[in-house]
Subunit: 435 residues, 2 copies
């Protein structure tokens, strides 16, 4: 058995491509380099690639983590030139061309791709996170699932009606696709899935408040579709508050504008903050921390470094910013693969041209909005297209069957397969001890 | 909405049956009381019933938690007389007939069933638990899964060959069914599932040591089957050490007899300790803490209290102790339901007679041993019977399809669907941060 260092020196004749991040951008980049005479190392602090667009379905008990996650090294098991390293990147030494790692030796590169993504942002109120978890990782999703399900359990045992109502109140901050999807899913969880399971509470009395600071939901869609989403949510019993900012999150819930909402469960689906990669590089970045890359996706002053996905700020051909969605990251990954091939061949690198294929968002299990540009759909047909598209984009037959099976049960029987309260946080009140 | 207290007083005319524990015994008891004119409250610190016989398959990445767990209240959604309370019992006030709960008001009972099960025992070495986790809850299973998968990840990044070999060494303490099943599953994980996924280690060099203090594996089976299991494990590359006690578990592995095994991953599959229910009652108990119940399963001096399952010591008609297995707990649950009906009708209560239907244990994905008394099977046919029996005993069509699908993939493609490293323990060395 040999270590990483001996490998790298023994095969130093092939250019070493290092990719930080195994999300949509990083995975697509490695796919795009198939057959190239390079050695590739993928570094990720997780062992798995995650299909983030369906993460909210784990948080709301429809899907289970293994439905939408794949070991990164499993995806490249047939590519002997690809190594995967589970490690946390802590910096980049651009002089010596090294990626610095936590607890491990630095990894040398000839060309580097930064695909480190984004985290949620609390707009300077990081202390809100413990009251209002956001949704980015599998652990985030199981944390939110635990809080939602535990709230119903505690309400069932609660004698005080005021406290009971607070336990049955859910506040979701942010009216983009994630907020809309979570609000719709919690509404259906309460109305359909749980309605026969409790004896001392009526889950139909669940209150769900979706707060959006902007003037409408789903700002990436046209106004009529924002209206459709709002009406569809309201039909599910969700209260939609528009044009009002959340000024406080605490143990009692939120304050929106002047109004206090007593909610035991608050979910954060607002702001996004890029990874610290711009700081590692000392590169110019926007307010959200996104690296301002050149048109070919390389980092200014570093033709050997490309950056892609949510950690990058770049304009689309129409002048608007490229959105932080999976298809954009995948396109950038494909472009960076081509750019690396061109650079290695000494050929000129073409600029990245983002092509917007469409926007999709779902509201509960029967309604969605889709804007493909050439056609817009709102309603049941859009929901079917949304569902089929998402099953299609999962990797592998087994995952597609598993997700389709879970959805079938939700659709036909209202039964959600993953109503598990697990992994209690220490000190979280009213939850059982882990032992 | 009304609280628990008002419910209980409003319907005090019906006898209040309280069940502590939603395992096999508790669930079967509630099923056995269908149609009886009683009010039932099931108390469990978890929200889910767990199919423990397959828990090792979560620990070894074949199944996912939602495959083998069901919300307890979902199981009784069609039984309006059954309430489920997620709460941790802390004691029993037999004078006032109250179950004491953590953070919640006591729950009154007319008749009580204790089905609180067992935990693993470290034979007085509780400090070994952090080095050698055992397998009883979903969290235990995901903890062990994380440690197994992380060991391979860390070995891939390790330069020092001695340290690398320790990372690729797995010690399993205890040669009962759980130890045998885990050892076989880790062997197949290393040999088949992972073999193409790493570049700097050869997973075929994985060392798996199964240590049993007694003279043979699977003491519940006949000697020939113990021999079969040992040979089958050895064919998978497992080292089986018999008649040697583990005298130390620490961060470096274990000491068995005089020999130090350097193992980064140690799994505890030895001793069992009953729940503290005997202490709550001040009842006579054996060394493992199991309540010594009367032949009808009632607690001596308390005809209104029954105790069932792994927290009970009782002899079978053949004089041997009733084993701590799922079928025994289910039979006891059914008996306790009949006993409660008889007690309420003023009729005499018959003694519990355990009927041993058989013992099953599996070694990897093609071998099992079965002893039904009238027939004994060892090998591939036994494995198929084991698999079909376990799918049959799962609750609900969806779970059966999901488990069968997962097993199909393991069987045909050697691919395990749940190779996820999640829920990092704070301070666990070499793992990624949760954020």
């Amino acid at each position: 058995m040999k270590g990483l260092a001996s490998m790298s020196s023994a095969e130093a004749s092939r250019p070493r491509i290092v990719v930080i991040g195994g999300g949509f951008g990083g995975i697509e980049l490695v796919r795009g380099l198939r057959g190239a005479a390079v050695d590739i190392t993928v570094i990720d602090s997780r062992n798995h690639h995650l299909f983030q667009p369906l993460l909210y379905q784990i948080a709301t008990a429809s899907l289970t983590p293994s439905d939408i996650a794949w070991p990164i090294r499993f995806l490249f098991r047939d590519r002997p030139e690809v190594s995967v390293l589970m490690a946390t990147a802590t910096g980049i030494d651009t002089q010596r061309r090294l990626v610095m790692l936590k607890d491990l030796d630095p990894v040398p590169y000839d060309m580097l791709v930064i695909a480190t993504g984004a985290r949620h942002s609390y707009f300077g109120h990081d202390d809100w996170e413990r009251f209002a978890p956001a949704l980015k990782t599998l652990e985030d999703a199981t944390t939110i699932r635990r809080r939602i399900l535990t709230a119903f359990e505690r309400a069932e045992a609660e004698h005080d009606p005021v406290r009971q109502q607070a336990l049955l109140t859910f506040a979701i901050v942010g009216g983009g696709p994630t907020g809309v999807e979570i609000a719709g899913a919690i509404a259906e969880l309460a109305r359909d899935t749980l309605k026969r399971d409790f004896r001392h509470i009526d889950t139909l009395e669940t209150r769900i408040v979706l707060v959006e600071a902007g003037p409408r939901l789903l700002p990436a869609f046209v106004e009529a579709q924002s209206e459709f989403a709002k009406a569809a949510l309201e039909r599910l019993g969700v209260e939609v508050a528009l044009g009002v900012a959340v000024t406080l999150c605490d143990a009692d819930g939120i304050v929106m504008g002047e109004e206090r909402i007593h909610a035991a469960t608050v979910i954060w689906a607002a702001g996004v903050q890029a990874s610290p990669a711009a700081e590692w590089l000392g590169a110019a970045h926007d307010r959200a921390g996104r690296i301002e890359v050149l048109p070919d996706l390389s980092v200014p002053g570093h033709p050997e470094i490309f950056a892609i996905g949510d950690t990058v700020a770049i304009a689309a051909p129409n002048g608007k910013p490229v959105p932080g969605i999976a298809p954009a990251a995948k396109q950038a990954g494909r472009h960076a693969a081509k750019a690396i091939r061109a650079r290695l061949a000494g050929e000129p690198v073409s600029p990245f041209r983002y092509r917007h294929d469409g926007s999709l968002a779902t509201i509960g299990k029967r309604r969605a909005v889709i804007d493909f540009g050439w056609i817009r759909l709102s309603g049941a047909l859009a929901w079917w297209i949304w569902g089929i598209a998402h099953v299609f984009f999962l990797i592998g037959v087994r995952h597609r069957i598993a997700v389709a099976l879970s959805w079938l049960w939700v659709y036909l029987r209202n039964q959600r397969g993953s109503r598990l309260i697990t992994q209690t946080e220490p000190g979280e009140a009213g939850e059982p001890p882990p032992g």
